[in-house]
C-alpha cells in the first residue's frame, strides 16, 4: 500500500526522479525499511496509455519542456529545442529505453590511466573499479531480468531477420556480432510476460516484457508501505540550513502550488540535464555557484555517446520492424585500440526505427526532402541498420547552463545545452561509418545511408564522480563531496560514458548506493 507522508516529516529520503536511478533507489531503500518520497515531474501513465505508435508516444511521454541546443554541431541546427530524447513520466527513460543491458569493460573505469591525458578532453578515472561493480551488476541483471546472462539463466531472444542480415554481413568481414543482452523477458519472470516481438520497445513496452521502473520497482516500493510517489511534482530548488546540510525540497505540485517537503537526505535523479539544473537553480548566498559545486563541475562534461546511424537498402525484404528494437550488437570495435585512430570503443547496435521516425531521422532538418530521400523511404521494407554507440570524451565545455533571461512554465531558467564533438568522437564516428559500409556491402547493399546524431537518449556526466573533490561533484558512492546528505543517483554521476548503454550501470550504482545510504543512516553519519 502506498504511503502518505507529511510535508514536515524530516526523517525521509526525498528522491527526485523515478527512472532507472530514482525508481531503483526508492525500491532498494524501501526493502530495507527506509522511507522515501519520490517527486516525479511527469504524469503517471497506465499500461493502456502505451501504444505501438511512434509519434503519438513521442508526443505523450517525451520531456518536451523548453530547452536550447547550441554549438556548432548539426544537432543544434536540426533539433534546436530537443537535445535529449527522454521521458517525463513515472518510470522516466526506462519507459523509452530499448532494454540493452551490457556491463562496462574494465578499462572504461580507468580511461585516464589507460590513455593518459587526451588533449582538449577532461578525462578522469572513476573512483570505482569493475571488480567492485561486478556483484552489483549481477544484482542488477537479476532485478531487471537480463537475458543471456548467468544471473538469470534466461535464454536470448531468437534471431530476427534483421539480426540475421547484419550477422551475415559481420561474418563476411570477420567482425564479432552477437545477440543483445536485453532486460526484456524471454520467459515468464517476475510476474511479467515474455516478449512477443511487437517491435515498439522505445514507445514503452505495451505488455510489460521489458523492464521499466514504471511497473516493477515503483509498485514494489509502494507495496512496502515505505514509499509515496508524487507525480507531476516539479522541483524548484533544494533547500539547505546554515551548516550546509540539505533540509528539504521545494516543488510545484500538479496544481502549480508550491510545497516544501522536508528531508533527512535528498537524492537527485532527474537525468543529466535536469539534475545539474536543479543544483544550479538551488544557488544561495552560501553556495553562490549552485549546490555541491565547489569544483565548478556541476553541469560540465556532458556526454551523450558518440552516435550516428547507418541504414542500408537491399534488393529484397528485411522487415526489420519485426524484431526487438535491438536484436544484436556488432562489438568488434568495442575495445580501446588507439591504432584505429581513436581512443575508446564503440558498438554497432542493430536497431530499427519505424517508417514514421525513419522519415524524420534519415536526413533530419530543413534539407530532408526530395527524390533521393523519398526513394529510400519507399524502400523501408528492405532496410537494415545500426545505431552507432561509442564512448565520447568528457569535455568541460560540453555543458548544461541556465538561460540568462528566459524562464519556463515553472518560472525556472530554461536549460541551455552545448554539445559538440571532440576530434576523437569525429574520428570514431567516421571509423564506424566506414566499417558499417563494408559490412553492408559484403551482404549486397544497394545503398548505404549515413545518419547524423539525433536527440540523445544517453545523457551522462554532468555531476561526475571523482576521487578528489576538486575534479568532480560526487564521491564513489554518488554522495556530494560538499554536502554529505545530498546524493546523485542517475547517469549524471558517470565519470566516463563507456561504450555501453548506461541503464544497467545506473541500476547497479543505485543498488550499491542504497547499501551505502542504509549503512550511513545506521551509523548516524547522515
Amino acid at each position: 500500500m502506498s504511503a502518505k507522508f507529511d510535508l514536515n516529516d524530516d526523517s525521509l529520503v526525498v528522491i527526485i526522479g523515478s527512472g532507472a536511478g530514482g525508481g531503483t533507489l526508492a525500491n532498494e531503500l524501501a526493502q530495507k525499511g527506509i522511507r522515501s518520497v519520490v517527486l516525479e515531474a511527469g504524469k503517471r501513465f497506465k499500461m493502456d496509455d502505451i501504444e505501438n505508435d511512434e509519434w503519438k508516444m513521442f508526443g505523450k511521454i517525451s520531456w518536451l519542456d523548453k530547452r536550447y541546443v547550441v554549438g556548432p554541431a548539426r544537432i543544434a541546427e536540426d533539433f534546436p529545442n530537443l537535445p535529449a530524447w527522454i521521458v517525463k513520466g513515472v518510470g522516466g527513460a526506462t519507459m523509452h529505453w530499448a532494454g540493452v543491458a551490457m556491463r562496462f569493460q574494465e578499462h572504461e573505469f580507468k580511461m585516464k590511466t589507460t590513455n593518459g591525458t587526451v588533449p582538449g578532453a577532461n578525462v578522469l578515472d572513476w573512483p570505482v573499479s569493475l571488480e567492485e561493480m561486478e556483484p552489483y551488476y549481477v544484482k542488477a541483471e537479476k532485478k531487471m531480468g537480463v537475458c543471456g546472462t548467468e544471473a538469470t539463466g534466461m535464454p536470448y531472444h531468437g534471431k530476427s531477420s534483421h539480426y540475421k542480415v547484419v550477422a551475415e554481413g559481420a561474418k563476411r568481414i570477420g567482425a564479432k556480432c552477437d545477440q543483445a543482452k536485453l532486460a526484456i523477458n524471454t520467459e515468464v519472470r517476475d510476474g511479467r510476460p515474455p516478449c512477443q516481438v511487437n517491435g515498439f520497445c522505445m514507445q514503452g513496452c505495451r505488455i510489460g516484457a521489458k523492464w521499466s521502473t514504471m511497473y516493477t520497482e515503483i509498485p514494489k516500493a509502494e507495496a512496502t508501505g515505505n514509499v509515496e510517489v508524487r507525480p507531476q511534482s516539479m522541483v524548484l530548488r533544494i533547500e539547505h540550513d546554515k551548516t550546509g546540510k540539505v533540509t528539504g525540497v521545494l516543488y510545484a505540485d500538479k496544481d502549480g502550488n508550491q510545497q516544501l517537503q522536508k528531508a533527512r537526505i535528498v537524492a537527485v535523479a532527474g537525468n543529466s540535464i535536469e539534475s545539474p539544473r536543479m543544483l544550479l537553480n538551488s544557488e544561495s548566498s552560501m553556495f553562490p555557484d549552485g549546490l555541491a559545486n565547489s569544483s565548478g563541475q556541476v553541469g560540465q562534461n556532458y556526454m551523450t555517446h558518440t552516435t550516428g546511424g547507418v541504414y542500408a537498402e537491399f534488393e529484397k525484404p528485411v522487415h526489420m520492424y519485426k524484431s526487438t528494437v535491438v536484436p544484436g550488437i556488432v562489438h568488434e570495435w568495442s575495445n580501446n585500440d588507439p591504432t584505429r585512430g581513436h581512443f575508446a570503443g564503440y558498438e554497432l547496435e542493430i536497431l530499427h526505427l519505424g517508417l514514421p521516425f525513419m522519415s524524420a531521422f534519415l536526413n533530419p532538418g530543413k534539407g530532408g526532402w526530395g527524390r533521393e530521400l523519398a526513394d529510400s523511404l519507399a524502400n523501408y521494407g528492405n532496410m537494415a541498420g545500426f545505431w552507432i554507440c561509442g564512448e565520447d570524451m568528457a569535455v568541460e565545455s560540453n555543458n548544461i547552463t541556465l538561460h540568462a533571461t528566459e524562464k519556463d512554465q515553472y518560472g525556472l531558467p530554461v536549460p541551455v545545452v552545448y554539445k559538440t564533438d571532440h576530434i576523437n568522437d569525429t574520428r570514431m564516428r567516421n571509423h564506424a561509418y566506414d566499417r558499417s559500409k563494408e559490412l553492408f556491402d559484403a551482404v549486397g547493399a544497394l545503398k548505404v545511408n549515413n545518419l547524423p546524431p539525433y536527440p540523445a537518449s544517453h545523457n551522462m556526466g554532468t555531476n561526475r564522480m571523482s576521487e578528489h573533490a576538486r575534479d568532480g561533484v560526487v564521491n564513489r558512492w554518488g554522495q556530494a563531496h560538499d554536502i554529505k546528505n545530498l546524493f546523485v543517483s542517475d547517469g549524471s554521476q558517470f565519470t566516463s560514458s563507456g561504450t555501453e548503454n548506461p541503464t544497467l550501470t545506473i541500476v547497479a550504482l543505485a543498488i550499491r548506493q542504497a547499501d551505502y545510504i542504509a549503512d550511513q543512516m545506521k551509523r548516524k553519519e547522515i
Partner: protein, 192 residues
C-alpha cells in the same frame, strides 16, 4: 536564440493532420479512409489543394492552388502515390487557412515567392517548369523559408505517418494487438 526555429514537436502539435487521429479498429479505420477519399475527390476536381468553391481557393486563385499540389509532390515525390495522399495532408492546412489570415498569408506569399523565383530562374511560373530537376533548383532556394518548412513538416507527418501508406512502403504499424511477430515471421529471411 533560435526563437523562430521549430522543434520536432511544434510541427507535430500545430498540424492537425488526419493521420494523427487514432483508428481503434478496422471498421473505424475503413470509415475514416472512406471519408478522406470523399473529401479528397472533392478537392481534386480543382486540380489543387483548396476546395474549388472555397473562399480561400477563390482568393488564392486556381493557379496558386495547383502550384501547392505540385510543390507537395516535389517535396516527397512518390510517382506511384495518387494525388489524394498529398491532398489529404494539405486540405486540413488549406481549411485552417480559410479562417487563419496569418496562415493564408504564409501560403499565398509563399506561392508568390515560388513563382517569382521560378520566373527569375527559368522565365516561367513554377508549374510551367518542365523538369523536376529545375523545379528542385527553385525549391532549394525556398528551402529555408517558413512557408517551405511548414509544408514539408506537414507532408512528412501526413505521408510517412499515414497507416494507409505503410503497407506500400513495407511497414507493419501497431502489432501488440495481433500478438506481435513472434508467431508471424519475425525470423523469416530467405535471401542470405
Amino acid at each position: 536564440m533560435n526563437k523562430n526555429k521549430k522543434s520536432l514537436f511544434s510541427f507535430r502539435k500545430s498540424d492537425q493532420d488526419v493521420s494523427d487521429t487514432p483508428c481503434s479498429d478496422r471498421r473505424e479505420f475503413l470509415s475514416k479512409s472512406g471519408k478522406l477519399a470523399l473529401g479528397a475527390s472533392a478537392v481534386i476536381v480543382g486540380g489543387g489543394l483548396f476546395s474549388p468553391n472555397s473562399f480561400a481557393a477563390k482568393k488564392i486563385g486556381a493557379d496558386a492552388n495547383e502550384t501547392l499540389l505540385k510543390l507537395a509532390r516535389d517535396i516527397y515525390p512518390h510517382d506511384t502515390l495518387e494525388d489524394k495522399y498529398y491532398v489529404q495532408v494539405m486540405s486540413p492546412m488549406a481549411e485552417s487557412a480559410e479562417k487563419d489570415p496569418e496562415l493564408f498569408k504564409l501560403l499565398a506569399d509563399g506561392v508568390k515567392l515560388l513563382d517569382n523565383t521560378s520566373v527569375e530562374k527559368y522565365a516561367v511560373s513554377f508549374t510551367q517548369i518542365e523538369t523536376e530537376q529545375e523545379r528542385v533548383a527553385v525549391l532549394k532556394i525556398l528551402e529555408p523559408t517558413p512557408f517551405f518548412q511548414k509544408i514539408k513538416g506537414a507532408l512528412m507527418m501526413g505521408i510517412y505517418n499515414n497507416p494507409e501508406i505503410w503497407p506500400l512502403f513495407g511497414f507493419g504499424g501497431s502489432a501488440w494487438e495481433k500478438g506481435g511477430y513472434i508467431n508471424r515471421g519475425y525470423d523469416a529471411v530467405d535471401w542470405l
